[in-house]
Each structure stands twice: as structure tokens, then as C-alpha cells.
Point group: C2
DNA sequence: TGCTTATATTATAATCATTCTAATCTATAT
DNA sequence: ATATAGATTAGAATGATTATAATATAAGCA
């Protein structure tokens, strides 16, 4: 039961269980960053894992990984939560046609200067969402 | 049954019903723009209107007003939908402490240039979300 | 005006994502 | 090995939203 995620999990105070290791493998053994909803992940787990993982465990693990800084929650259309394996501060395209998110790295966007302050509050993050849609013909 | 909203509704192909007029009055008879969830609006209706309006009607009306361009849906934390009576393209602060949205007008943010294109797609909107939190002491 | 019909409203049930619960299991420290 | 704190599980509960199907109403027409 050893994996490259065993220590990663343990070092964040998460016991390295079979389920958590499997979920980490699905999420992080990838070349590119991965955007997903809980439902996406649950589907992959179902098709991919030898043994079943309860939906509640998937929720718990994703939320824990988010709290520990290995995932980032993305606020998009309000029907579902999306998560991103790219935890750096960065921007997104949101394709309205496919409802898919695409990373937009900081290098493509000049630094954004906000010339307004809210008293007693400090800025925690500044992120841009670019909504896109098909280019062709008429848009109803 | 005449109201300044009678024609506004009719000109958008919406029959000016008592319920719709009442909802318009609540939403648009205001000095400042108004951010709300369906639940916020339902509460105001309950305390404000002489006669009850069914929750389904509130949902239907808000969605119709959104489709007709009188309201704008805001994508924030994924638990609920928020709507905004300011339908122009503009930005927001999101106060993580209170979960409240604050308008951030374009004049406080320089134009944002995105140096990346997605083939076959055109940009529909570019909006910034600035997350803020209490300034004082320790966070966590 | 009154009638007809397309459209709205309503109460309630259904759905869907998410969270809770309480029983069972397991990683870890002794 | 054993005890126990922490994790997993199935299923129930919750809360927002949408669907349903019966009733009511606005608008067009005689």
C-alpha cells in the first residue's frame, strides 16, 4: 500500500487510505491540470477503480484536499462546484457552449490594478473570468 | 392595475400580471443596484406584498427578467444563485466573511487585455472577481 | 362587453447536489 | 497484538431548484 501519495497525504495530516490514494492518483497523475466536478470524479472512480468508493468519501476527500491546498475550488455557474488541480492564482475561460473551463495563465493577462478599497477589508485574490462562446454565425 | 412596469413588461412580451409588477417594484424601485438570491427576494415578497406569491412564480419571473436582460445572474460560491439589477458588464468584490457581493464599477479597473485566443470562440464578457476578507489580526 | 384561448400562477411533488448520521472499519501508536 | 482516533460506508436528510397538472387570468376577437 505504498504510493507516491502516501507521504504527501501523511505530511498534510491525512491518513493515507486506499480511497484517498486512488483519488490522488486519478487527480494528480496527469500531464495537464484538471478541472472537474464531483460528479466527473465519481464517474472516473466508478470506471477506474477496482473497488467502489462511497460518494461521501469522494466529497470528503476533495474538500480536504482543497483545504490542504492541493485543489482549488472554482466559482462558476451555480449549479455545481468545480475544482482545479492548478492551485496557483490564475484566470479562466468559461465556454458557455460546452460548460467547460479552460485555464488562462497569468502570463496572458496584465496585472490588474483595483483602484478602490473596502474599509477594513484586504484583498485575498483577483481573478478574471472570460466567458466565450462559438464564433460562427448567429447567436440566437 | 397600471404601473410604470406594465409597459416595460409588455414590451418584452411578458404579460403584466399582479405578481410580476410587484416583483418589478421590489427589484427596480431602488436608488442603488441590488444583489439578491431567490431566497432574499422571497423573504421581501413575504413581508411586503399584500398577497402571497408562489415560490415557483418568483423563480419563473426572475429567470424571465434575466432572459429579457433586466437582471444579470452572478456566478459566485456554488451554493445559491445570485442576481444583480445592474446588468452592465462590471466587476465584483466578494466578501468571504459575510458572503456578500459589492459592485466594482469599470471605472476602478483598467481595461483588461487577454493575450490568448481560443480558436473558433469569441469573447462574450470579461469580469473580475476580487475576493476580500477582514483585514485585522490573524486569519484562520 | 362577454367568450375563447394562450399564458400565468399555484400548491405540491420530484429532482439533484450536497451534507449528515450512526454503524462499521482501519491506520497508527503503544 | 490492541486500543483508539480517524475514515469509510450506505442510506437518510436537507435545501435549492424544477416539473406537474389543476386553476386562474390577460388579451384578442365576436
Amino acid at each position: 500500500m505504498n504510493s507516491k501519495y502516501t507521504n504527501k497525504l501523511r505530511s498534510s495530516g491525512m491518513r493515507p487510505t486506499r480511497q484517498r490514494i486512488k483519488i490522488c492518483e486519478i487527480l494528480f497523475d496527469r500531464e495537464h491540470t484538471f478541472h472537474f466536478s464531483i460528479n466527473d470524479l465519481a464517474e472516473i472512480v466508478k470506471n477506474n477503480a477496482k473497488e467502489k468508493i462511497a460518494l461521501a468519501t469522494i466529497y470528503n476527500t476533495v474538500h480536504l484536499l482543497t483545504k490542504k491546498g492541493y485543489l482549488k475550488e472554482i466559482s462558476i455557474n451555480s449549479d455545481k462546484s468545480y475544482f482545479d488541480t492548478n492551485t496557483s492564482s490564475h484566470h479562466h475561460f468559461f465556454d458557455e457552449e460546452t460548460s467547460k473551463l479552460i485555464d488562462l495563465d497569468n502570463e496572458y493577462v496584465d496585472p490588474i490594478n483595483i483602484r478602490k478599497n473596502i474599509p477594513g477589508k484586504k484583498v485575498k485574490s483577483i481573478e478574471v473570468l472570460v466567458k466565450i462562446d462559438n464564433d460562427n454565425q448567429n447567436q440566437k
